[in-house]
């Protein structure tokens, strides 16, 4: 017959109201392999994973684990059968301790031996090299550490199939490598790992096989070494790569210096140390640095998202006071927050309501945007940004990550800002949408909008920014322009090798 697979999924169908999310998708996983599951947002990766973990019930198809057909009723059921998942967004409880998060829902008895659990948790943490104590509240850890705790939890459950859904999106390089070591270790012990990510380099660094999905259908399964990166991208987005290359050719950046739009001196907040910053009209600049270097905190201070504690701010040369978000908005500043789910979308409200929200706030409570007007706005931006949604009244929470991000972009574009701050606008979204967003940033700059762009992918920033502010340990340690805008120089500055 056929060779023995660890996991086979055959002809999986999953339907949502108005959308066929999966259409006869096949997927196979062998013992001890790392299998990358690739595709754009909305390709069906997350849906396939959720079918496999019992979050969704499939509408058709068959799942076999070690040759035996099985039905997965719930995530708990999946765990019991040896399928563990670490999701893209952290799904642990921030108000419980690290130890409790690792063991929650797994105890058999009513009585929990707190001390022994904590001891075991500490052992696991140190084995995996995770910088956290078992007794500390999960919410007090950084996003990266929270993610690693989630992985520790899955690893500790002696799973046969481990699913990592965008596990690296909030980890820095060192942490990513540590995770890869762990993945290879698990692989050698025969665990099958399904790895979902948007970072192509990581796919090639660690995976053995790649399955590509597009629009809910299977494109194909390939050996990683036999599929060049450029072909993988074209299979994912389903079109030729002229666009990709054309974008990177827009390297030459405008040299003409326009007047300064925004200028801050010694700006500080409860989260950010004092720093100086300025941006010209139509300029695209960026903050870069490792996770926790203070790049997000700095832009939050500009927008007044955290309590501003000092410094002077001038817009168009006039001193202004920005102490809360609405002040910044009134001065033409828009801010797309780093954490889309927590700080961006209003999940249960419709695409339309999410799009008009910021404009409505600026108009004030007593000038509501009429229904027909808001519908026109929504339709316009759904078209301009190519937002994939069943209708403008669909709750935004049911859209895929990239489309949610576009909705938030639309929200800010609608306010016609002079200055737009984009903090990780491309995190966790697919290649196609990433390109669209980068193009949009360049187009906005051409129209005279200033943009501050933050991304953990240096390449992306080099492509869009004409000036990079480098941060380390919450201080600005360098500013790169012109000739210095290259990967090596950025890395050097981040690492402290300048001088």
């Amino acid at each position: 017959m056929q060779e023995e697979y660890l996991l086979t999924m055959r002809r999986i169908d999953k339907r949502f109201p108005g959308v066929l999310a999966l259409n006869g998708v096949d997927f196979t996983l062998r013992d001890g392999e790392i299998h990358a599951l690739m595709g754009e947002n909305g390709a069906g990766k997350s849906t396939l994973i959720k079918v496999l973990t019992g979050v969704y019930q499939m509408d058709g198809g068959e799942i076999r684990l070690e040759g035996k057909p099985m039905v997965i009723h719930s995530p708990q059921d999946a765990q019991k059968k040896g399928i563990s998942t670490v999701y893209q967004e952290i799904t642990l409880c921030p108000n419980l301790t690290v130890a409790e998060n690792i063991f929650i829902g797994r105890g058999k008895g009513v009585w929990v031996r707190q001390k022994s659990l904590e001891k075991r948790a500490d052992e696991i943490l140190s084995k995996l090299g995770i910088p956290a104590r078992s007794t500390q509240l999960l919410g007090s850890c950084s996003l990266a550490v929270q993610q690693m705790v989630a992985i520790a939890r899955a690893v500790d459950m002696n799973c046969k199939v481990l699913i990592l859904d965008e596990p690296t999106s909030s980890l820095d390089d060192k942490e990513v490598n540590r995770l890869f070591d762990l993945m290879r270790d698990l692989k050698s012990r025969g665990v099958g790992i399904i790895f979902v990510t948007h970072f192509l380099d990581q796919v090639y660094a660690v995976s053995d096989r790649i399955t590509v999905l597009r629009n809910g259908e299977l494109v194909g399964e390939y050996l990683t070494e036999e599929l060049p990166q450029i072909q993988l991208v074209s299979k994912m987005i389903g079109k030729e790569l002229e666009e990709l290359s054309s974008l990177s050719e827009t390297e030459e950046k405008k040299t003409e210096e326009k007047e300064i739009l925004y200028e801050a001196e010694g700006l500080s907040s409860t989260e950010a140390l004092p720093f100086d910053f300025a941006i010209r009209r139509g300029e695209v600049n960026g903050f870069t640095g490792l996770l926790g270097s203070g790049r997000s905190e700095s832009v939050r201070a500009i927008f007044g998202a955290d309590k501003v504690t000092g410094g002077t701010v001038r817009i168009n040369g006039k001193p202004v006071k920005i102490s809360k978000p609405v002040d910044a908005m009134k001065h033409g500043i828009g801010y797309l927050a780093e954490d889309r789910k927590r700080d961006g979308i209003i999940a249960e409200l419709s695409v339309r309501e999410n799009i008009i929200l910021a404009l409505q706030v600026m108009n004030g409570m007593f000038k509501p945007i009429s229904r027909s007007e808001s519908e026109a706005f929504a339709d316009e931006y759904i078209k301009v940004l190519n937002i994939k949604t069943a209708s403008r009244e669909t709750p935004v929470g049911s859209l895929s990550g990239g489309n949610q991000q576009k909705v938030i972009l639309a929200r800010w574009l609608l306010t016609h800002p002079d200055y737009l701050i984009l903090d990780e606008p491309t995190r966790g979204i697919d290649v196609g949408t990433k390109l669209e967003i980068q193009k949009l940033v360049l187009k906005l700059a051409e129209e005279g909008v200033s943009v501050t762009f933050i991304s953990s992918e240096v390449e992306e920033m080099l492509r869009t920014c004409s000036r990079l502010i480098v941060m380390r340990d919450r201080h600005v340690v360098g500013e790169l322009t012109g000739q210095d805008l290259n990967q090596t120089q950025v890395m050097k500055t981040i690492a402290g090798g300048e001088a």
Binding site: F303, I346, L349, M365
Partner: protein, 360 residues
């Protein structure tokens, strides 16, 4: 036709389905039990006015205070993700202020009544902002924050009138509690309609609905979009304060006296229940005022039905509880999801059949 089915399957089923089904079942049940149950007659009251009468009228009339409180409670629920359990006590305070001001004047004219009502309103709004401040500024859970006023409210009401239960004899106050001469519809019902229109205007001419829902669903995102979440929460409590004053004054006017111990006793739980039956998420977020109002009528109709069936007043609560368990379980997300899956399967089959038909 196609459009309606699409909308139907998209929403699973609408928020108002459960409360409307509940009303329909109660109506059918009553009609079977007593075909004349809902007959509306015209009778003459003690003032010699021709007025509408009958069970239906007394249900709609009797639910007035509850319906008004439910509207305000819906807003607080949506913004704060919690409920105000002090509305009954606060209504007693508002009612006491209303009577106190009326008693202070030598003769009661229309102007004095309006003045008294405004005083009651201001006091209720002050207590509302007290609750609202605890919730919005100090971030105390609404139920705990309002527990304070729930505990001490009726004592405060007691102090206002020096411990007495003064009566008010005035044709104007009487008209507010029963009928305005020449109008056959009970005045409290008219007040409910007016309040409903005021809320509709509020939502139509401001963006309060959008802001409240945003704050309720994702406070952090709302703040980063420039919405002052604290103000929105505080405002919801102040608006509830107005509703409290209105229902307190209706309650006083019905009896012509203020009894700080019994005025709108236990109404807070019925109010919360009305919001829940109306399909609103008690954890905040999206809301429908109409749902809560229908919920209020469901509760009142249930009570009247039970009384009409000669259930003793001590047993009524137990029977009410049974019906409410049914409503809440049917409206739960688990059952809703099962039902919409069932519907989806049904429409699938229909599609397959129609495809086959087309092939032939």
């Amino acid at each position: 036709m196609k459009k309606t089915t699409k909308k139907f399957s998209f929403n699973g089923f609408g928020q108002l389905t459960i409360p409307l089904i509940a009303i329909a079942l109660l109506v059918v049940f009553n009609l079977i039990r007593d075909p004349g149950f809902f007959s509306i007659g015209i009778s003459h009251n003690s003032n010699g006015n021709a007025v509408l009468s009958g069970n239906l009228i007394s249900i709609i009339n009797g639910a007035s205070e509850l319906a008004i409180l439910a509207m305000g409670m819906t807003l607080v629920t949506a913004a704060c993700g919690g409920q105000d359990i002090s509305v009954g006590a606060a209504a007693a305070i508002a009612g006491s202020v209303f009577v106190k001001v009326l008693k202070a004047s030598s003769s009661i004219s229309g102007v004095t009544v309006i003045l008294a009502f405004l005083c009651a309103c201001v006091v209720a709004m002050i207590f509302g902002s007290f609750n609202g401040t605890l919730v919005a500024v100090f971030r105390i859970q609404p139920m705990i924050a309002t527990l304070i006023l729930y505990t001490c409210g009726r004592s405060i009401a007691y102090w206002i009138n020096g411990g007495a239960t003064p009566t008010v004899t005035s044709s104007i106050v009487n008209a507010i509690g029963s009928f305005i001469p020449g109008i056959p519809v009970p005045t409290p019902v008219i007040i409910v309609v007016v309040m409903g229109i005021l809320f509709w205007l509020l939502f139509h001419f401001t963006s309060l609905r959008l802001f409240t829902q945003s704050v309720g669903i994702n406070g952090s995102a709302a703040r980063l979009n420039g919405i002052d979440a604290r103000f929105i929460k505080l405002l919801s409590f102040i608006i509830l304060g107005v509703c409290v004053a209105v229902s307190g004054c209706i309650g006083v006017s019905r009896l012509g006296l203020i009894n700080h111990e019994t005025l709108l006793l236990d109404v807070e739980m019925d109010t919360i229940l009305a919001v829940a039956i109306g399909g609103n998420n008690l954890g905040g977020g999206k809301f429908k005022l109409s749902g809560s109002v229908i919920g209020a009528y469901v509760i009142q109709m249930l009570t009247i039905t039970l009384y009409a069936m000669k259930v003793s007043s001590t047993d009524v609560k137990a029977y009410k509880a049974i019906v409410i368990i049914l409503l809440v379980v049917i409206g739960s997300p688990v059952i809703k999801e099962k039902f919409s899956r069932f519907l989806a399967r049904l429409s699938d089959k229909r599609r397959k059949v129609s495809v086959k038909g087309a092939e032939e």
